[in-house]
């Protein structure tokens, strides 16, 4: 029998060629002291492809003008680029354009909701439900909002396996006082991918609103904001191959309409008299002051790049890298891993500790090999307390990482262990 397609008798099918995008990311060509850059801190911020750098450069060289004001041709170009980017950014996550608000980052997006919705709607006797795996950006705004309104702040536990319990969610919702559930889509420490659509369904059935922190999700997996159905979904550009200084808040249009503005001032008004003002329509009502114009254009180029790759492919690549990293790191004696054991259940991040070596020292020693990881509480101190550590070391992946990077990580950890042996 002759066939060009591999058959079961032809032995194991070789793995598909590994995705290798390094040539698209100029910074990855950089060497320090003769060592190539092994960048494993993408949960913190991602590197940028050439197309994003070119879009930023082109904007400032060719199209720079303020938006929403000028009638001259250059200003119209800037307008079109800015609003065109918004359309592509919204489409990238299947969200309506009208309720896609630009903010400076996720922290600003959550604060927008905590102030404009939280302080207007929360009352004594109400509760905001978050979880132990939240980033400080989804904890502290709710501490302030609940303190200011007399509402209660409650937490869902993180299990030993690094997951949330839907049963506990149901119990909390059954208490009848939860007005808002604010949860991360993907944990920046454990990597846990939360069953966010199921959570939204249950919360809505109980009459609670849902805010999702999608900072770690949007850069590495397909996200359909419409299908998830959350009332607020926030993410940030710089973790998704875009520039710093731009975040995105997708909100339910009716809720956004009903909310007062957050920041007030230029560009967000319809008319201003001496004592009173009226607001622009959505989404501009929430975009006070000159916007992050070049950054929006840059993020537009970033989602174009990710869209062309295909987020299914990005997700599969990062899943495969995490599976390899879990296997390799798990094989080093004295290395402890956090988070769900199966790569299928987690995003592109692996937190770990090395016996006898503080995470800071691990990161410093790895840095000498030009292996860049993060060592800290990862802005998740309540989670660190739950895990019983002050800090962890964390390697996190972007679409441009390859298996060689994991090998470099493993080699550098073994070397660090020798220093402290």
């Amino acid at each position: 029998m002759t066939s060009l397609t591999p058959t079961a008798t032809a032995g194991p099918v070789p793995p598909a060629a590994e995705l290798d995008l390094r040539a698209d990311f100029p910074i990855l060509a950089r060497e320090t002291a003769g060592r190539r850059l092994v960048y494993l801190d993408s949960s913190s911020t991602s590197q940028k492809p050439q197309s994003v750098l070119a879009a930023l450069d082109d904007f400032y060289r060719q199209h720079n003008a303020n938006i929403h004001r000028g009638v001259y041709p250059l200003a119209l170009e800037a307008d079109a680029l800015f609003e065109g980017a918004r359309e592509r950014i919204a489409a990238f996550v299947d969200a309506p354009v009208r309720s896609t608000v630009f903010t400076s980052n996720v922290t600003a997006a959550i604060n927008l909701v905590a102030y404009a919705w939280g302080r207007t709607n929360l009352r004594q006797g109400d509760a905001v439900l978050i979880s132990e795996m939240e980033h400080h950006s989804n904890i502290v705004p709710w501490q302030l909002a609940t303190q200011a309104t007399g509402a209660q702040l409650r937490y869902l536990d993180v299990s030993e396996a690094g997951t949330l319990s839907l049963d506990q969610l149901d119990e909390e919702l059954a208490r009848g006082d939860v007005r808002l559930v604010a949860l991360t889509h993907v944990s920046n420490v454990l990597g846990t991918i939360n069953p966010i659509a199921a959570i939204v369904q249950r919360a809505h059935a109980a009459g609670a609103l849902v805010l999702v922190d999608g900072a770690q999700a949007v850069p590495q997996m397909p996200v359909d904001v419409g299908a998830i159905g959350a009332d607020f979904y926030a993410w940030t550009g710089h973790k998704a191959l875009g520039p710093t200084g731009i975040g995105v808040l997708h909100g339910d249009a009716a809720l956004l309409e009903a909310m007062p503005p957050f920041l007030a001032g230029g560009d967000m008004i319809e008319s201003v008299t001496r004592q009173r003002s009226t607001w622009k329509e959505l989404p501009w009502k929430f975009e006070a002051g000159t916007s992050m114009i070049a950054e929006a254009v840059g993020l537009g180029a970033a989602v174009d790049y990710l869209g062309a790759l295909g987020m299914e492919r990005v997700r599969e690549h990062e899943r495969s890298l995490v599976a390899y990293a879990l296997e390799q790191l798990g094989g080093i004696e004295g290395v402890g891993l956090f988070g769900p054991p199966r790569a299928e259940d987690r995003g592109g991040v692996v937190s770990f500790v090395v016996d006898g070596v503080h995470p800071h020292d691990v990161a410093e020693l790895l840095g000498r090999e030009n292996v860049c990881i993060r060592a800290s509480h990862h802005c998740a101190q309540p989670l660190m307390a739950k895990l019983g550590v002050a800090a962890t070391a964390r390697a996190s992946f972007g679409p441009y990482n390859v298996r060689d990077d994991v090998d470099a990580l493993v080699g550098a950890i073994v070397k660090a262990q020798k220093v402290f042996a």
Binding site: H358, E364, H377, Q381, F420
Partner: protein
């Protein structure tokens, strides 16, 4: 392995820290955090005749913060309390004798900060006299 930061003497103080633990009686104490990494360090001091008679650190942290506390403790015991409160970052860096990057300086200075806090009631970061780096950042 030769290493400018992780020298044998730093690692020795990290693995076998001097003057760590609790004092049965103490006159001064304080507790401080490093906001960068969540490390924490406490100190208890017994004062006798205006001098630090006994001192114990407690807490957890990286090799630099723990070794720095241990090494400093050997100099601090016997020192007039007033003098200990005025020690600056350069005193400690000279004592350690290693190059510390700007981001790790707070690790090293946590010990001085907590001692300063215990004595003066205020935990400000000790500044370097030389404007190199940003220990107060």
């Amino acid at each position: 392995m030769a290493d400018d930061l992780y020298r044998d003497f730093i690692l020795d103080h990290y693995k076998r820290p001097r003057n760590f633990g609790e004092l049965e009686q103490h006159d001064l104490d304080a507790h401080e955090f490093n906001p960068l990494c969540g490390d924490e360090l406490g100190v208890q001091i017994r004062v006798d005749d205006g001098r630090i008679a006994e001192l114990r650190f407690n807490g957890h942290g990286c090799a630099i913060s723990q070794a720095s506390a241990s090494i400093a403790s050997e100099e601090l015991v016997g020192m007039p309390v007033e003098e200990a409160a005025t020690l600056d970052a350069d005193w400690l860096f000279e004592l350690l004798g290693i190059d510390i990057s700007a981001t790790r300086r707070k690790c090293a200075l946590l010990s001085l900060k907590v001692v300063r806090h215990a004595i003066t009631g205020e935990g400000s970061w000790p500044l370097a006299a030389t404007p190199d780096g940003h220990p107060d950042r």
